[in-house]
């Protein structure tokens, strides 16, 4: 399975942390606890995920907590791209 970690990281940095070098953002850093992504930010992440990976998240059970880190967002992509869940 493709590793999208760097793509996600690049998006988060460009959108929310433009002054931060990519190597400083750990994949398990809690984006919600740090206020990097708030409820409005979550909406932007969802739109980007749907456009970039051609996935639909509407029917998936997701909460803001599902987006709490780069790793967590990566897990959403992997989960929605597995054949059993593909639409």
């Amino acid at each position: 399975m493709t590793d999208h970690t760097d793509t996600i990281k690049k998006f988060i940095i460009e959108e929310f942390l433009p002054d931060v070098p990519p190597e400083q953002l750990e994949t398990d850093y809690d984006l919600l606890a740090g206020g990097v992504i708030d409820s409005l930010g979550v909406l932007r992440v969802i739109v980007w995920l749907e456009d970039t990976f051609n996935i639909a998240l509407d029917d998936t059970e997701i909460t803001p907590e599902s987006f709490h880190s780069v790793e967590a967002i990566h897990a959403i992509i992997q989960h929605t791209q597995t054949p059993t869940n593909a639409t």
Binding site: Q24, Y29, G34, G35
Partner: protein, 524 residues
């Protein structure tokens, strides 16, 4: 110098003293007569003795006489700090004229309104010929003053006014704060004995001439025969100049806003400098970042350190001697305990006086306070009469939210008007600033609420980082997450390297910091 002008001045001072008037000016004139060679002011590398100062006061007084001002009427003085400006103020006090001292940085319209409110028929500037403000301003003020004569000197049965200062006006038009002769005397006596300011003590004066801080730096010092080392306002951020001034003038007492200490620490680090002569270091006007505080003992190895809390309306009301061994363990430095003669109340939202530990608005009554703003309509709700053990006393509602701890010490929590709702939660923007300031790579911060359709408000932080250049929004967010509720972490953080805009009283001007950002967004 000739003796004649001094004799004229002395006779004026004697009259003032006999009538129980300003002992500040009386004591200065005694010094002029008996210790004319003693240093009074240090300015631009020159030493001005009490004799020289007395001569300048006499010259200013002669100029005043030539103007044929109405007897004991108020005057406005529009002046940057200089020995001549100080002489002019002394000359007015000697003539028992209340002096309005606004910031020279205010706009022409605001200045005219203030001079008119104070009933100042004349606005004086010492930097040119007598009555040197443009004829235009003077004429307009005269016209308005006639209609709006609140000259505080004229009310019978009211203590005579010495100085009229103004509030910073960061939230609107500055308010005029008249300080009576007895209030100024009580303060200068307290400050002189508290910080051991006597004949020969050199005190740094960092604040501009119109600041309440000058009541200590300049007027207390001169009253007790000390010497004022005057910082030129135009060079107030020139760290090397400041360090040189402190080194060469053997300063013993410093009172200043945190910014001065930050500048000195940075400048001294490069030169491994120590200021051995300083005995008392007073931090006031704003909260000092812990990392700045922790660096002070290395710079001032012989000094004691104080956090002093006060306002223009009340002057100093709380003092806390800082125990440097204890600093690391605290997140906030207490404002301490009430100064002698000061009564303080912590009043909850519901108007109940909080006994023991708890939070609420701080109300204070001091021996040094104004009897109220000159414009009486502004006093409603700000000055409140309350009965205490000895009778009625007027308390000033500071607007500061404080916490009284179990040990009786008080810390600042924020401002009553500084609260905003973010996603339905009441957040103090000052509390957020306090947490951000504790990051050791942060020099200054302004947190503002930006209206947001969804969240109600979103917080935006403008942060000035230090020279290491390492701070970024992610490292600051990690720091914030340790000390703040998630809702209080700013939605957007802008890191800058240039100083943030300041109010006329030297505090970070949040609205202007925000305006710069909004303006920038518009233009990009």
């Amino acid at each position: 110098m000739t003796s004649q002008p001094v004799d004229i001045a002395i006779s004026g001072a004697d009259r003032s003293l006999a009538l129980g008037e300003s002992a500040v000016v009386g004591r200065v004139m005694e010094r002029v007569r008996y210790q004319p060679g003693a240093p009074a002011l240090l300015w631009h590398g020159e030493r001005i003795s009490y004799g020289d100062l007395g001569k300048m006061v006499c010259e200013a007084r002669s100029s005043l006489e030539r103007l044929e001002l109405p007897e004991e009427g108020s005057v406005g003085i529009l002046a940057k700090k200089s020995p001549r400006a100080i002489s002019l103020i002394l000359a007015c006090l000697l003539d028992r004229r209340p002096v309005l001292l606004p910031s020279v940085g205010l706009g022409a319209e605001t200045l005219q309104r203030l001079f008119a409110q104070a009933g100042c028929g004349h606005v004086l500037s010492p930097d040119a010929s007598p009555a040197a403000v443009s004829g235009e301003l003077r004429c307009e003020v005269l016209g308005a003053a006639a209609a709006e004569d609140r000259s505080p000197a004229r009310s019978p049965g009211v203590e005579r006014t010495a100085l009229m200062l103004t509030t910073s006006g960061s939230t609107g038009v500055p308010k005029i704060v008249p300080l009576s002769v007895p209030a100024v005397e009580r303060f200068t006596d307290w400050a002189g004995s508290r910080f051991a300011i006597t004949s020969g003590t050199t005190v740094l004066n960092y604040a501009p001439l119109n600041f309440d801080l000058c009541l200590l730096d300049i007027w207390t010092t001169l009253k007790h025969g000390g010497c004022v080392a005057m910082v030129d306002q135009d060079r107030a951020t020139d760290a090397r100049y400041l360090l040189d001034l402190l080194t060469t003038s053997e300063v013993r007492v410093i009172q200043a806003v945190p910014m001065l200490y930050r500048l000195l620490i940075d400048a001294a680090r490069d030169r491994a400098h120590r200021l051995e002569s300083v005995r008392h270091v007073i931090v006031t006007g704003d909260s000092i970042p812990l990392h700045t505080l922790e660096a002070l003992p290395a710079l001032f190895p012989q000094a004691r350190f104080y956090n002093v809390y006060g306002s223009t309306e009340t002057n100093d009301s709380f003092i806390h001697e800082i125990d440097m061994s204890d600093v690391g363990a605290r997140r906030h430095i207490p404002i301490g305990r009430p100064v002698e003669g000061v009564s303080a109340l912590v009043v909850s939202d519901g108007g109940r006086v909080v006994e023991g530990s708890g939070t609420g608005e701080l109300w204070v009554a001091t021996p040094f306070q104004t009897r109220g703003y000159l414009t009486e309509a502004l006093n409603e709700g700000k000055f409140v009469s309350r009965r205490d053990g000895t009778g009625h006393r007027t308390y000033f509602r500071t607007g500061d939210i404080v916490r009284r701890h179990d040990d009786g010490s008080i810390t600042l929590e924020g401002r009553t008007e500084g609260y905003v709702k973010v996603r339905g939660v009441r957040v103090s923007t000052q509390a957020v600033e306090q947490v951000i300031l504790q990051h050791d790579q942060v020099m200054e911060v302004a947190v503002v609420a930006v209206p947001d359709d969804v969240a109600g408000n979103r917080l935006h932080a403008v942060v000035r980082r230090d020279k290491t250049g390492q701070l970024n929004s992610l490292s600051l967010r990690r720091h914030c997450a340790r000390g703040l509720d998630r809702v209080a972490i700013p939605s957007t953080i802008e890191i800058v390297t240039t100083p943030l805009p300041k109010t006329p009283t030297g505090k970070v001007d949040r609205q202007r910091a925000h305006f710069h950002r909004a303006h920038k967004e518009k233009s990009t």
